[in-house]
């Protein structure tokens, strides 16, 4: 390689700017592709940009720590963004006034099902404890799930990926399953989509009408809170 090109690479690979730029550009391209492809859930821009960036880092033999030096500036905004989730949650609170008991019971049982069934099935397959706690919050919205995973000693990056995969699964299989089970009540449909598959499921629930969309958004917020409170208790009991 030309020595001037080589020295450019030395500069770039050591500067946080390169990986910050790559992160933003890859995401912008992935989102453009997603919109072009008619917003199909398996074309999820987070999944596509994560996989492409992983491929680039493997090919260029770049350690994750070096990548994160640049990407941390994006990552840092996750905290304030999590706090900002209070605003949509507050807006959707109107929906709480309809069937509050039915909603609370279904949400709590749904939330426990999501975490416990994920832990038990993976445990049967001999998955390590650290991986188990990383997948337990899989149905919770990504920023909250990553926080839970990190707090309980899991791997937040593994959590981020399984959360997105869960969202894609719920968004693609949810409408079919709800139909099979004769679940026609729009409140029930929305609640199921939001509890099982957070924001990506809510994105799909929007096509089920206003009531389903509002309940899905509400379920997503409340499941985040329920899992944050319940999972440390379940995990403490499970580890005994």
């Amino acid at each position: 390689m030309d020595t001037r090109v080589a020295s450019l690479w030395v500069y770039l690979s050591a500067s946080p700017l390169l990986h910050l730029t790559l992160t933003v550009c890859f995401f912008v391209i992935a989102r453009w592709l997603y919109r072009k492809a008619g917003r199909r859930s398996w074309m999820n821009p987070v999944l596509v940009s994560v996989l492409s960036l992983v491929a680039i880092l493997v090919i260029t033999d770049t350690p994750y720590e070096v990548y994160f030096e640049g990407a941390q500036f994006v990552h840092f905004m996750l905290g304030p963004a999590t706090v900002a989730l209070a605003i949509p949650l507050y807006r959707q609170c109107e929906s709480l006034k309809r069937h509050p008991v039915a909603l609370a019971v279904s949400l709590l049982i749904g939330s426990l099902t999501a975490a416990l069934s994920a832990i038990f099935i993976a445990k049967l397959g001999g998955v390590s404890e650290q991986a188990l706690i990383s997948i337990a919050p899989k149905s919770v919205t990504t920023p909250v799930a990553m926080g839970i995973s990190e707090t309980l000693g899991g791997l937040p990056s593994l959590t981020a990926v399984v959360v997105i995969l869960t969202g894609i699964l719920g968004a693609s299989l949810g409408p079919w399953l709800l139909d099979k089970l004769n679940i026609t009540n729009p409140m029930a449909k929305g609640l199921a989509m939001g509890t099982a598959s957070h924001g990506i499921g809510t994105g799909r629930a929007i096509y089920m009408g206003d009531v389903a969309a509002a309940f899905s958004g509400l379920a997503m917020g409340l499941n985040g809170l329920a899992t944050t409170i319940l999972l440390p208790l379940i995990w403490g009991w499970f580890m005994k």
């Binding site: 999590t82 706090v83 099902t113 598959s197």
Partner: protein
């Protein structure tokens, strides 16, 4: 814009301190979210400016998962070894959650008329 960002950061900081002080196994930003939520309940509405800043931030929310998601790079061996139980767990658990939540809500909402 800056005032709203200050409010969000302040709530997060309070949340983090709260968790640290009480040694709770709960993420600080989630407590920050609860603090802001309570604040909104007391106020009774959402200030326009806060609503605009929050929407702007939440519209870009997906981008913010990418850096952490790329960290999966460090767990490729783990995924290679356990891809089968992990995918079985995700698929079965997601379907089970959808079914139980939906059936319960439909049934209970009918009872609660």
């Amino acid at each position: 814009m800056l005032e709203s960002l200050a409010v969000l950061l302040l709530c997060q900081l309070l949340g983090e301190l709260f968790v640290l002080y009480l040694e709770l196994p709960v993420p600080g930003p989630v407590v920050g979210m609860i603090i802001l939520f309570i604040g909104l309940m007391i106020r009774g509405n959402i200030p326009d400016e806060l609503s605009i800043t929050a929407n702007g931030l939440l519209e870009q929310l997906s981008l913010l998962f990418v850096p952490a998601g790329v960290g999966v790079l460090t767990h490729l061996t783990l995924l290679g070894e356990h891809w089968l139980p992990l995918s079985a767990s995700l698929i079965v658990s997601t379907l089970l959650t959808l079914a139980i939540t939906g059936l319960l809500m439909q049934h209970l909402a009918k009872e609660e008329k």
